[in-house]
């Protein structure tokens, strides 16, 4: 590719130089070729630059140095011109190569620094999120183990209960961290199959019925939603995450609405809440890992949806509230057995 450009540059330079030839001295015309060298050097590495330099020298010699139309050089003065052209070409290529290497090194450093920053933010956040439940578990468990017999039964039960609950939360966090790592390293493979969003929604609402009991959940799913090729387990997780988030970040008895519709070859699924709403600036930021409050949940959701070639975003609802929406591409589902069609 670079060599094709090198040849093109020499040809262009020669045409321009031939145009100028009538008005300017041959030595000045040679400068046109230097521009060609610099332009090629800006885009390509050493090889094409050396190539264009050599071609330039040859073309200049052939077209402009008397006797014209030959590679013969009569006047030794022109030998110097040719040598200079070649030398300048080589120097320029060396210079641009070095500049380019430095830019690359800087970019690598920047990426490394960013990875490091994300990693330490991740660790800091995880250890912070683990510290509280661990403190509760250690404290409650040691109270039970060392002082248990002196406590009234209801006190013992409530300490045990809080160990149970904190351990659950820790386990959820650990699962999320593991999953994020697997999503990021590409170790997560989609187990795609024809699935039904209605079914997934039914399963999620059942699984989360205790956590969503504080809110009013309205389900608005068309009867005839098409089947989608997806990893149902992962999409269920996205839906669960969005519903849980809506319940966590809005006051009790707020209305949460789960909707879906087909739009332009995609299934669009929305979880809308009629809570206080998000500030405009947070709509994108909350999908970042360990943005305050969102934890890993939304970052995982985004990774899962993007693996499905869909999109996920948050938007403010007119008036109050926030909508989280994601899309899943639709494909034409396979044929059904005859009995189903007959109905």
């Amino acid at each position: 590719m670079g060599y094709a450009w090198a040849a093109g540059a020499t040809i262009t330079a020669t045409l321009v130089a031939l145009g100028l030839d009538a008005y300017f001295h041959v030595v000045n015309v040679a400068l046109v070729y230097l521009i060609a060298v610099v332009l090629v050097a800006l885009r390509y590495g050493r090889g094409p630059v050396v190539g264009v330099s050599v071609l330039n020298v040859a073309a200049f010699n052939f077209f402009f140095i008397p006797p014209r139309g030959t590679f013969h050089v009569d006047d030794p003065q022109y030998l110097l011109t040719l040598a200079m052209m070649l030398a300048v070409g080589l120097i320029v290529s060396g210079l641009t190569e070095r500049v380019r290497a430095r830019a690359r090194a800087q970019a690598d450093l920047a990426i490394e620094a960013e990875t490091e920053r994300v990693r330490s933010a991740l660790l800091a956040s995880i250890s912070h999120d683990l510290r509280t439940p661990l403190a509760v578990i250690t404290g409650s468990a040691s109270t039970l183990a060392e002082r248990g017999e002196r406590l009234p039964p209801e006190e013992r039960a409530s300490l045990a209960q809080s160990i149970f609950q904190q351990a659950r939360e820790m386990s959820e966090l650990v699962t999320k961290v593991l999953q994020m790592t697997r999503l990021e390293t590409g170790a997560m493979k989609l187990e795609r199959d024809w699935g039904s969003l209605n079914e997934i929604a039914g399963a999620v609402l059942r699984r989360l019925r205790d956590r969503l009991a504080t809110h009013m959940v309205m389900v608005d799913l068309p009867e005839d939603l098409p089947l989608v090729r997806m990893d149902a387990g992962l999409v269920e997780q996205v839906l669960a995450n969005l519903l849980e988030n809506a319940a966590r970040h809005t006051p009790p008895r707020t209305l949460i609405r789960l909707r879906a519709q087909v739009q332009g070859g995609e299934l669009v699924v929305s979880v809308e809440d009629f809570g206080p709403g998000l500030p405009e600036g947070d709509l994108e930021r909350i999908f970042k890992k360990f943005h305050r409050g969102a934890g890993l949940g939304l970052a995982i959701c985004r990774a899962i949806i993007e693996l499905h070639k869909g999109r996920i975003w948050a938007e403010r609802l007119p008036g109050v509230g926030t909508a989280f929406r994601f899309t899943l591409p639709l494909e034409s589902p396979p044929a059904l057995p005859a009995e189903a069609l007959a109905q």
């Binding site: 209605n198 079914e199 929604a201 399963a203 149902a232």
Partner: protein, 227 residues
């Protein structure tokens, strides 16, 4: 006599709390720390139910399940870690009746154990099934919901019968497809989506939030009679 439960699990701490909670419920408990022992203990003690961990040190829990299935229909519940989705399906396809994902609360496990034991004690006759205000008579091929007669197709009856045979427990996509449509359709999960929707529309009080015909996402379905 109180039922005997075999626990095949390598982690002593997990066996510890399983033992105390199962004994507190009045079950006899036999513990095996690895797969080989588990196989031997299953033959020796003839337990009423087995709880098998999928991550055993010597060989796969799935192998234990297959060996037990060679001679016994005792209910088997598998314990699996979150990252073992695939082996969970394999375990169920190999004959396990139900699963529970680690970490779990003991309440969940005991509920599964109760369902499985009840099921083993009185296998559904395959004639009558009732849940909510629905009654199904498989022999007469009749279904009613409240006082209404409901028309079910032949396939819908077969699907329901297959779920009823494992009442309260998971039936995998593969098991359902093979039993209802035959082995050549073992991968056609989209059939199930369509037929389960039809069944729910006909039988569930609120098809959007099913109470009886439950989805086990990525695994299969579970028919729950009244809770």
């Amino acid at each position: 006599m109180s039922p005997t439960i075999l626990v095949v699990e390598d982690e002593p701490e997990i066996r510890h709390f399983l033992r105390s909670s199962l004994r507190a419920e009045g079950y006899r408990v036999v513990e095996s720390p690895n797969g080989r022992r588990g196989e031997v203990d299953a033959g020796m003690h003839k337990p009423d139910l087995a709880i098998v961990d999928l991550g055993l040190p010597d060989f796969d829990g799935i192998q234990v399940i297959r060996r037990i299935r060679e001679w016994s229909t005792m209910p088997i519940i598998v314990l699996s870690a979150r990252i073992q989705e695939r082996s969970k399906i394999d375990a169920l396809d190999s004959g396990a009746d139900d699963y529970i994902t680690k970490p779990f609360g003991v309440g969940e496990l005991l509920a599964r154990v109760r369902v499985a034991l009840r099921h083993a004690a009185q296998p559904p006759a395959g004639k009558e099934l009732a849940f909510g205000d629905v009654t199904i008579n498989f022999d007469a091929r009749r279904a009613t919901k409240g006082s209404d007669e409901i028309h079910l197709t032949a396939i819908e009856f077969r699907l329901l019968a297959c779920l009823a045979k494992h009442l309260g427990m998971v039936v995998t996509h593969r098991q359902l497809l093979q039993e209802v449509w035959g082995p050549t359709h073992a991968e056609d999960t989209h059939y199930l989506r369509v037929y389960m929707k039809q069944l729910r529309d006909k039988l569930e009080p609120d098809p959007v939030r099913p109470r009886y015909l439950l989805t086990e996402t990525g695994l299969g379905y579970r028919l729950l009679a009244d809770e």
